[in-house]
Amino acid sequence: MSGFRWPILVLLPALIIAALLIDGGRPSAEPAPLAEARTATVVRPNSSAAATWFCVAGVIDRDVTAAVTTHSIEIVNVGDQQRLLRIVAYNAETVAGIEPESLPLTIDAGQRLTIASELVGSTMVEVDGGGVIVEHVIGNEIGSDSRPCASTSAARWEFPAGETIQGTHETIVLFNPFPEDAVAQLAFTADTGRRIPTKFEAVVIPSRTYKVYDVSAEIAQAETASASVIVNAGRVIANRVIVKTDRGEGSGLTAAAGTPTASLVSYLPVAKFAANRPTSITVYNPTEERAEVDIEIHIGSDVVIPEFEIPVPALQRQRIDLTAADRMKILAAGERGYSVVVRSANGVPVVSELSQLSVGGDAAVEGMSTMIGSPVAASRWIVDVPITAGDAGSSLILFNPSFKTIARVELQLVDANQNRILLPEIELGTGGRRAILLSELGVTSASVLILESGSPIVAAREIISLSSISMSLGIPDASTLAEEADGFGF
């Protein structure tokens, strides 16, 4: 028996020690957050069983100039099957707690439906499957803006680049289509610091209603007023509308669904360096920690523009006037478009928003537009072009955020007659950017572009109409979302 003693005396401790050593190297099994939850708008894939869209708008007072007066819904079925729609419209007369009667409709594959109303406040569109996108066009006499509706509700919304200086009017609309009342807080970081107006400390959005909050009335004369909507009970969908009324100063209207979460990286594909295009970027840190942020400028060529390295204190925002920055002067030789990547260098998530004005001089159109950075890239995008009038400068912008992979993008155009037209493939080098005039793509009427790439890209559009400019991200396909897990490239 003694012959077996030493083997076991050696074997047992060796086994246990070896296992302990191996065990120390096991990575943590922390689940990765769902990328889909990070962005306000996605299109559900064709195979989905259902999708719900929330188009949020409202009016404070019909008589004021800044009020939203038109709100139309554009629904496009980019899938290959007929879908059932259930449209529920909410207006100022909607009784709290009771869901209004719904309007059932069907939409064929490739079909576009436009639902226009004198003033439909907020609208919910339920679809019995994926492949359907919903946008809304908000407007008044000053201008209009077209944006994808939100496809999710959330308990928090961030708006980095609000504005309440004289001649500018900002409202935030909170829509609660759910069966229980929501209670939210609206917090602002303006030029004078962080502030929660007493009126906005605990606003109640009753069940099945929307509420419009006049930010300008509470946060006066702020050149940049970053806002956080913090929902303490329930969930809402938030939308911000800014109306600039000063003629000659880029007057216009811009609407933006907020972003539900801050992120380590965000992409802003649409930016243009031009004298009559004052452009600024606002980076907002809604967290309790200081963020170190790098702002990269990608122009899609070998020209390298040094990145901006800015600190953003907790609950503060930093605004950079890109047009005035010296390092951007390299682009001054001509009007050049570029994309911006905002990247947190210290792991503290932030939110970014690009603001662009189109002002007098030789600008074709006067207007203003904003775009909140996309926290995700995707391999499939749907870009709707609902407004085509006067689209001389309207373009599709593609950006490849990858450091390593060339992206080859297939484009398909679904025109107003439900024809599907395959367009030439576009290649994007690493960090590459392309802006293509919609007219070059044959877009002459309300159409939809379907983009499919071998690797994640970011797609956006810029629509320049007779009365406004509108920058907007496309709608990523939920099944192809990708995000930089560590914030340092794909």
């Binding site: 076991i8 005396l9 939850a37 329930g234 969930r235």
Partner: protein, 1016 residues
């Protein structure tokens, strides 16, 4: 008879009462006639005991005599005994006179010179058994009682006190009689000049196989009966509570020393008497009619306190004073290690009682899976027998046999299911520790048993199971040592020999015993088969490593056959739940997240719960290694097996932690007892190695190793002792049920279900996997019961719930409420803690994506915060599981009104149905439900793909019932028969072994010359 015939005093007649059958009567009658031709002989074949026989005799003869000399049949009187007794009775004016009883074969050895009794009616011999007669007791003296083998009593006195208690068959009848004589004011004396030889061989002579255990049982119950009926009211009020307390101490002590039978005896004595209240009351009343002396008047003939307790203390302190009736007791305390065992058993039991004090004195909260036992025994049996198991959405697969087992015990406790729950919870840890103690009984080393029990108790697996509310963990902790003992015996190698049976019988008995044991545990812990597999694998590997394969294949055979037998006992359940699609989760109750969360260090240190300081358990590695270093022969081999068993259990959990297994594991507390008992066994074997093997070495490092090994065991007990200060082993003070009363069913709104979602480790029931970390289950109404701890079949209907939840998570629906409505789900409860805040801190959060997806539903609303432990949502779109007027459209169901709300049977519902109503029944299986309206069966169709809808031809009184198939009922009957067969087979085998033992004993007695003495 010869001694009677030879008496110097001849003015007496002889009456012989012969019990037994005709042949016995003839033989004895002949013997009586040969010696005393004029003796009267009465044949009383139906008498139940000695007192009964005496009564029968007196009916024939008694009134003709002034005095009665009552003799049993195993005595021989000296020639002047009758004369001396009669003379003494007259001279002393005594009511009862007894002789000096001496040993049959060695008359110099005294058997009895009378008894005192202690406070509790236990006789205390005045002469130590085995005392040599040196005339030290040769003075006539008053005693409380004399031995019933031979005593003289005045006839009138005998009749006054009612004679022997006819309910007392054997043992204790003499004390009872004498107690009443004392109360009647008569003297009882011993006349030591009257010497009577006494064989005292009742046990070995009786064919009805009275065993020593039976004798102990009879003594206990009869002493208690005498006490309950002998004392007056005032003294009874004082003594009875003390007697109850003493019994509890005796039971705990017996359990901790592995004498389960003794514990049963003590408890059984109370049960036997409690069931005869009328007899005791009648005897008390009779006693009151002739009582002349109060209890205090003859108290000087009694001894204060408890004789048992006194003996225990004397034995532990090495006191020399010992009295003969305690010989059996004292015999077990004769070695130093046994004294230590008693002392340590006392300490362990006190520690357990101290640590559980709040659980003993207060309610045990419904923490985790320790749900209430709200089902009555009838409900449990009914659910099992009916063929409809209400788990989840309902199923026709067999309910677990655990229902029946719980119901049987519940009936035994007169339906006190709350008490049953308390007993089960509180007894799990002691049962496990006793198992660890018993495991090494066959080694003959008390020290090893002590060490094994202490180590097993110190490893906090049981306490952690208690604190986390894990039924499965508790039961696994309780059962694992017993399973290991069976596997050990299956080896049939040292020290686990079974010398009483042949090899074939041994294997048969072992398979039956293991099968029954696994069947019992498996009725509640379906994953016990995994535990057995781990143990058997460890034992086999240990055998290989130790180079001794002896008995290994036999053990494997027994393990496989035993497991198979256990599985066969649960076959209907297994066929219904586990077999379809070979579903692992229901069988193993798998999917716990804690396995994934536990690092190897936590696994090795049993750090699975709220017990702190577990780092101190590292010392056990040293203690358990001692046997590998010092042990020889079988100590070394079994030490290696024990170690490998632990390593296998740890390894399995570690593999689960790394995700290296094809299936998820059950929670760690179910598997860790294997590692715990392995360590405990190794430590215990180390103690034997210390006793046996260390002596063979000169003084050196091995002796020093002993110190470290001892220190390891002592230090390892610290976490357990620290946890005991809490009084509830860190169990939270309140359960979730205390915060969830609003979920109670309201008949007005109709029957509904609650969907529970959470990590399997905090869910208050056993869930089905939702994803890698979450599980879910449904309950009828908000009440969670012990029956929700069994998981049902993951059938297509249940998968629809899972699918609906996943749809919500992936954003494929914003009206989840409508999807859940056909299941009658009115509430969804996300559970993140086993108990409400602030009673527990550990939170296993439901992934945000899950809660946010629910929060984003248009027809589900969050209920105002109930407690941080749960998040509750209410489904606005729900409709009752029995409703009428429903629009059964899978895409857009519309609610109906509740119907059939009166439940008149387990699966019968009644109510009134309006004409032209479509009745929806949201219970699976659809095919089993029948609806009769106004006596006409309604046409049934399947609704939503799994439920039923009925279109009655007219309105009227309706009855909905579930109809079982004959095959179902036959399966239940066969299952029951299977259990009874196994139990009967075990009893038969045991009885066969006992008979063999008795035959062996009798043969040895026949070989002795004294055995030729006549007997009847």
């Amino acid at each position: 008879m010869a001694s009677l015939a030879a008496q110097s005093y001849d003015r007496f007649g002889v009456l012989v009462v012969i019990a037994g059958d005709e042949s016995s009567y003839s033989a004895v009658d002949a013997t009586v006639r040969r010696h005393v031709p004029n003796a009267k002989v009465v044949h009383a074949p139906d008498v139940r005991g000695y007192g009964d026989a005496v009564a029968v005799g007196l009916e024939e003869f008694g009134e003709q005599a002034r005095m009665l000399l009552l003799c049993q049949d195993d005595i021989a009187l000296g020639p002047k005994v009758v004369e001396i007794l009669v003379t003494e009775a007259l001279q002393s004016n005594a009511g009862v006179v007894g002789p000096k009883l001496v040993d049959w074969s060695e008359p110099r050895v005294i058997q009895s010179v009378g008894f005192a009794i202690d406070k509790f009616g236990v006789p205390i011999p005045l002469a130590e058994r085995g005392d040599l007669d040196q005339e030290q007791y040769d003075a006539v003296d008053d005693v409380f009682s004399v031995a019933g083998a031979c005593l003289l009593i005045r006839t009138d006195l005998y009749e006054l006190v009612g004679g022997y208690d006819r309910e007392i068959s054997f043992y204790g009848d003499d004390v009872d009689l004498c107690w009443r004589v004392q109360a009647a004011g008569a003297r009882i004396v011993v006349a030591p000049d009257a010497v009577v030889r006494h064989r005292d061989a009742l046990l070995s002579r009786r064919e009805d196989s009275l065993s020593s255990k039976d004798a102990d049982r009879l003594r206990s119950r009869h002493a208690l009966r005498s006490m309950l009926s002998g004392y007056g009211g005032f003294r009874s009020a004082r003594v009875i509570p003390q007697a109850i307390l003493l019994t509890l101490v005796q039971v705990v002590s017996a359990l901790l020393t592995g004498r389960v039978g003794r514990a049963k005896t003590r408890l059984g004595a109370w049960l036997w008497n409690v069931r005869r209240p009328h007899q005791i009351i009648r005897r008390r009343r009779e006693l009151a009619t002739f009582r002349e002396l109060s209890d205090g008047d003859f108290r000087e003939l009694q001894r204060g306190g408890s004789y048992w307790l006194g003996q225990a203390i004397a034995a532990r302190t090495g006191g020399e004073r010992s009295e003969s009736a305690a010989a059996a007791f004292s015999a077990s305390f004769k070695s130093t290690s046994v004294r230590a065992a008693a002392a340590i058993a006392g300490v362990l039991s006190l520690t357990l009682i101290f640590g559980s004090r709040h659980l003993i004195t207060r309610d045990i909260p419904a923490v985790g899976q320790l749900a209430s036992f709200s089902s009555s025994p009838g409900d449990l049996i009914g659910e099992w027998w009916s063929g409809f198991w209400s788990t989840g959405l309902g199923t026709d697969s067999a309910a677990p046999f655990g229902h029946v087992l719980l119901a049987i015990v519940g009936y035994g406790l007169f339906g006190a299911m709350g008490l049953l729950r308390k007993l089960l919870v509180l007894s799990a840890i002691p049962v496990g520790v006793i198992g660890a103690w018993s495991l090494l009984r066959s080694t003959g080393s008390r020290r090893a048993q002590i060490v094994s029990a202490i180590v097993y108790l110190s490893i906090p697996v049981g306490f952690n199971s208690l604190a986390s509310g894990s039924w499965f963990g508790l039961l696994s902790y309780a059962g694992t040592p017993w399973v290991l003992a069976q596997l050990g015996r299956a080896h049939a190698t040292a020290p686990f020999f079974d010398r009483d049976a042949t090899l074939a019988r041994r294997i048969r008995a072992q398979v039956l015993r293991l099968g029954l044991l696994l069947g019992l545990i498996g009725a509640f812990v379906p994953s016990i088969w995994l535990v057995v597999a781990v143990m058997a694998t460890g034992l086999v590997l240990g055998s290989l490593v130790a180079g001794s394969l002896a008995g290994t294949w036999r053990m494997v055979t027994v393990a496989v056959l035993g497991s198979g037998l256990a599985l066969a006992l649960h076959l209907p359940w297994f066929l219904g739940v586990g077999l379809p699609g070979l579903q692992w989760a229901p069988v193993a109750a798998a999917g716990s997240s804690d396995v994934g969360d536990l690092a190897l260090r936590d696994i090795l240190l049993f750090n699975t719960g709220r017990t702190g300081l577990t780092t101190l358990l590292a010392g056990l590695a040293v203690s358990a290694s001692f046997v590998l270093i010092i042990g020889r022969s079988w100590r070394f081999v079994w030490g290696a097996r024990a170690w490998l068993m632990s390593v296998c259990a740890w390894g399995l959990l570690w593999a689960g932690h790394w995700g290296a297994l094809p299936v998820p594991l059950p929670r760690a507390e179910i598997i860790l007892p294997v590692a715990a008992i392995g360590l405990a066994m190794a430590c215990g074997l180390g103690a034997i190695a210390f006793e046996v093997d260390l002596k063979q070495h000169n003084f050196g490092w091995r002796q020093l190793a002993t110190l470290f090994a001892t220190a390891g065991v002592v230090i390892a007990a610290v976490p357990m002792l620290a946890a005991s200060t809490n009084g509830r082993w860190n169990m939270p003070r309140s359960g979730l049920d205390s915060r969830m009363s609003f979920l109670s069913e309201d008949p007005e709104i109709g029957a509904f279900r609650v969907l529970w979602i959470g990590d399997p480790d905090v869910l208050p029931g056993t869930g089905m996997p939702l994803d890698d970390s979450m599980a879910f289950f449904t309950t009828d109404g908000g009440r969670i019961d012990i029956t929700d701890q069994w998981i049902g079949r993951v059938d297509p209907a249940t998968r629809r719930i899972r699918l609906a939840i996943r749809k919500a998570v992936t954003g494929d629906t914003s009206r989840l409420g409508a999807d859940l409505a056909p299941f009658g789900i009115r509430y969804v409860v996300f559970v993140e803690r086993i108990a409400p805040a602030p009673f527990v801190d550990r939170t296993l959060e439901v992934p945000e994506v899950l809660t946010t997806s629910f929060a984003g539903q248009l027809d589900i609303r969050r209920v105002a915060t109930v407690n941080r432990a749960v998040e509750v949502y209410r489904n606005d779109a729900w409709f009752p599981t029995r409703s009428a007027g429903l629009v059964i459209d899978p895409d857009e169901p519309r609610p109906g009104t509740p119907v059939l709300v009166n439940q008149t049977g387990f699966t019968t519902f009644e109510g009134r149905i309006d004409a032209d109503s479509v009745v929806f029944v949201g219970s699976a299986p659809a095919s089993g439900w029948r609806l009769e309206v106004a006596g006409v069966e309604a046409e049934r169709s399947t609704a939503f793909g799994w439920a039923s809808s009925f279109r009655p031809p007219s309105g009227g009184d309706a009855v909905l019932r579930f109809v079982s198939t004959p095959v179902t009922l036959l399966a239940r009957a066969l299952q029951l028969a299977g259990w009874l067969l196994v139990v009967a087979a075990i009893l038969l085998l045991r009885s066969s072994v006992d008979s063999q033992r008795r035959r062996t004993m009798r043969r040895s007695q026949i070989d002795q010359p004294e055995s030729s003495v006549e007997s009847s």
